[in-house]
Symmetry: C2
Subunit: 496 residues, 2 copies
């Protein structure tokens, strides 16, 4: 029984073409059933079971990184009184036009309007002021995984620009600037590990002054590159110094009895991570999930032959049980539909490995394993199954990471002269441009206007999170705009 919705899906699958990235992105999310955007409020989407499971697996990885570095998970209220929100002047300026306001409770107008958190500084810091008394309370390292809200006026896009956002935010407080800077480096290391597990390469950029987070001393953006040449900010890490602790009066008594303000940092990331996974790894057959976060790592498809159905099912079930016991997330697909349809189904959903088992395989005590990333087929001996699959999952991770890294590298272009930023088609070269920039706002404006791109900021080292800011310099060159000698560089790109 095929309904009209199923037929629409079939047509959608047939036309999947990553070259038309924007259409492909929307279609593949619907086909893989990651999210449903038909909810009656635009930009507030429903997490369907499969998409939510991917998100939870990403959250689990994050929690692991945060717990291992001594962060405590907390959960703060969603609503923030307007009075608290207004304490840090830059912060409110940055968010004023973007927040949702609760003005009524039941039939009563509230005395103080409440806003839905766009992020939780102004919810947390009044409490930090109560929690932190002495230097022995420091560092205070907390994080939460919560829903946050932005009243987006731009066009919404699943995972990438939404109005209810699944958000991770770490908030820390430190005795001095040095310790808060150590925290930034710890965050960079956590991101490095996470990026590896998600097979997601990215660049780090210290944002220009005018683009830093509202209230921050400085902001490091974590940007990855989507196949359409636009960068997508996955998250950001902020040094606040004393910018919030002063208005929120977060003070501690040091060992000598002196009262001092804490230095604070935050590290935030959102569901955009899934948007990046979909966009960067997927292909014309569907999405491709990194094994570490795939809800199903191996889909078992029994190949039935008349009269041998029971026997085949029995073996398939035994294989499934073995995989589960070995800690591999396996799914046995024993539905009564043609194997070909099952293949399509699990390819669309990005399951890293497909295991086919039929009577001939059973005879030869083996099975066929097909890798989602490159479609390669492998005969695998049943008695070496667990080890072989574990290796194949690892290889899948390595290959899709390498592919993504190659894509990022190919699309990162060093530009020493603004004219070199224009390709043969008279358009600005796609991807990330890296160019010397004197650091002045005037030159930035010229660059952005000439190239129809924005400055992401100064490249920050990725491989060694323990860099010194003084050493964050590029080769001595000349600003692409004014020509002044400079060792300051910037990334430039079109950005979501």
């Amino acid at each position: 029984m095929e309904g009209s919705y199923e037929k629409t899906l079939d047509k959608m699958r047939e036309r999947l073409d990553k070259a038309n990235f924007s259409e492909w992105y929307n279609d593949v999310i619907e086909l893989a059933d990651l999210s449903d955007k038909r909810y009656p409020i635009k930009g507030m989407n429903v997490w369907t079971p499969y998409g939510w499971k991917v998100m939870q697996n990403i959250d689990t990885l994050l929690r692991k990184g945060l717990d291992a570095t001594g962060h405590d998970e907390v959960c703060f209220p969603l609503l923030i009184p307007k009075t608290e929100f207004q304490k840090e002047a830059d912060h409110i300026k940055g968010f004023d036009a973007e927040v949702y306001w609760v003005t009524h409770g039941g039939l009563n107008e509230l005395d103080v309007p409440l806003l839905l958190r766009p992020t939780s500084e102004t919810a947390m810091y009044p409490m930090f002021a109560l929690w932190i008394r002495s230097h022995t309370d420091l560092p205070l390292k907390t994080y939460q995984l919560v829903n946050t809200f932005r009243y987006e006026t731009k066009q919404t896009r699943t995972f990438i620009r939404v109005r209810e956002i699944h958000f991770f935010e770490a908030h820390t407080a430190h005795a001095d600037f040095e310790d808060s800077e150590r925290q930034i480096r710890e965050d960079l290391q956590i991101m490095k590990d996470l990026g590896k597990a998600l097979c997601l390469p990215y660049v780090l950029a210290k944002r220009p002054e005018w683009d830093k987070f509202a209230g921050a001393f400085y902001t490091i953006g974590i940007d990855c590159l989507m196949p359409n040449g636009k960068t997508l900010q996955l998250g950001s890490i902020h040094e606040y110094k004393e910018n919030f602790s002063v208005p929120y009066e977060i003070q501690y008594e040091d060992a000598d009895g002196e009262h001092k303000y804490v230095h604070q940092t935050t590290y935030g990331m959102s569901e955009r991570i899934i948007g990046a996974l979909v966009g960067i790894h997927g292909d014309d057959r569907g999405i491709i999930l990194p094994p570490d976060v795939a809800p199903i790592q191996v889909a078992i498809v029994p190949i039935y032959v008349k009269g041998k159905q029971d026997m085949i099912n029995e073996v398939a079930q035994a294989v499934h049980k073995r995989l589960i016991e070995a800690g591999i997330r396996s799914r046995l697909d024993d539905r009564d539909i043609r194997p070909g349809n099952k293949f399509y189904h699990w390819e669309l959903k990005g399951v890293p490995l497909r295991l086919e088992i039929g009577p001939r395989d059973i005879e030869s005590k083996s099975c066929i394993v097909v890798r989602r990333d490159d479609g390669s087929k492998h005969q695998v001996a049943l008695d070496e199954l667990e080890d072989t699959l574990a290796i194949m999952l690892k290889e899948t991770s390595e290959v899709i990471l390498a592919k993504a890294e190659a894509m990022l590298e190919e699309n990162t272009t060093t530009v020493l002269d603004l004219r070199d930023a224009i390709g043969d088609d008279d358009e600005t070269i796609k991807g990330i441009l890296k160019m010397p920039w004197c650091g002045s706002e005037d030159c930035a404006e010229t660059i952005e206007k000439d190239l129809d791109r924005i400055l992401l900021g100064v490249p920050v080292p990725i491989d060694d999170p323990n860099f010194e800011w003084d050493d964050v310099k590029g080769k001595e060159s000349n600003c692409v705009s004014c020509g002044k000698p400079t060792s300051n560089w910037t990334y430039v790109a079109k950005s979501y």
Copy 2:
């Protein structure tokens, strides 16, 4: 360095007296650091790391039960358009005065006001109408764990009556009434398993017509009894029949091509579970956590002796490592404070077992294990440690469950005449009263007024979730109010 806040805590600890239940409840939550109610919006509290961990452990148990019965976890948007909310007439009547309204996005007034979900029927069912097409889509079994909101006008109390509620809600859709009734029985079984793991006895009561959930066909309340004699509704299970599927047009095509409305159920529970754990199990020394959800199951306290500190630490660390490897949630407390203070600390936080280890213990290859529930001390051989502790954790669960069951039984009184419901002090007997009631609203009113109690509803069997509604009857007797013969009974209690 002891601050004034520490001194306040010391005083609070000294005066902990469960006989003054209300004060004790607030103090013990603060002392165990489960929640912080100093957030600037009353009834919206901060989940501190320890309390949040307990809640997450309860959530994990719940997820296990729901996943094992084929439910899929989803996550729906928080905001609901007023237009969707108004579709089911009884439902909106029940909630109208209790919801928070979002009226502005940024500086704009919204065309359609949005409300913060008090529960998610009206968010989910427009989507169910899209998801459900055919009988092969049924049953649809989903659940989510989310924040919900009620504009409470009554006095708030941590975990028990709050304005932002950590909420579990399962929503299912079925082909017919029979299948939805099977779902109710599955929910009752899940609750039974959960109650056991949490060592929480409870009663089930089919609520009177006027007290059922807004829009439900019938409601089963899950009530436990707090030490002050009040019942606390932990959650509820609802049969909706077609009450929501008709207004939300959730139809499916059956095998014969006929279009029919689905039958729906829900099962909801909230953070009140923690309130019950605190209230029912705690004592004058602090809270007592059931081992299944205790973030720390064993606290290791090394007993230092001058000159042997390093050796003792080494052994304590080895013991800690062994426990972690055995899957026991262990915490090594090697802080530089007196052991007595550590004992107090972990008692307050309800850690089921305390393990003390000093030089004499090490000599005799043993350690001392103290049970939180009864304070009993046990010498345990180090080479049998894992097994012995596992047994002691199991015993702790059994004992605190048995104690709670005894408390519930002692405070459940059968009453055949309203005069028997009044004690020697001329007050209505504390706890749960069980009495024959003809079923009429008039008699209910008389009972409620005379006793200053409310009717919880008809007792529903707990031990066998597969009961038949026709058999849900008590001994033939006479209504306590009108005297008419009846086999219908009701629970009556003072309720939170």
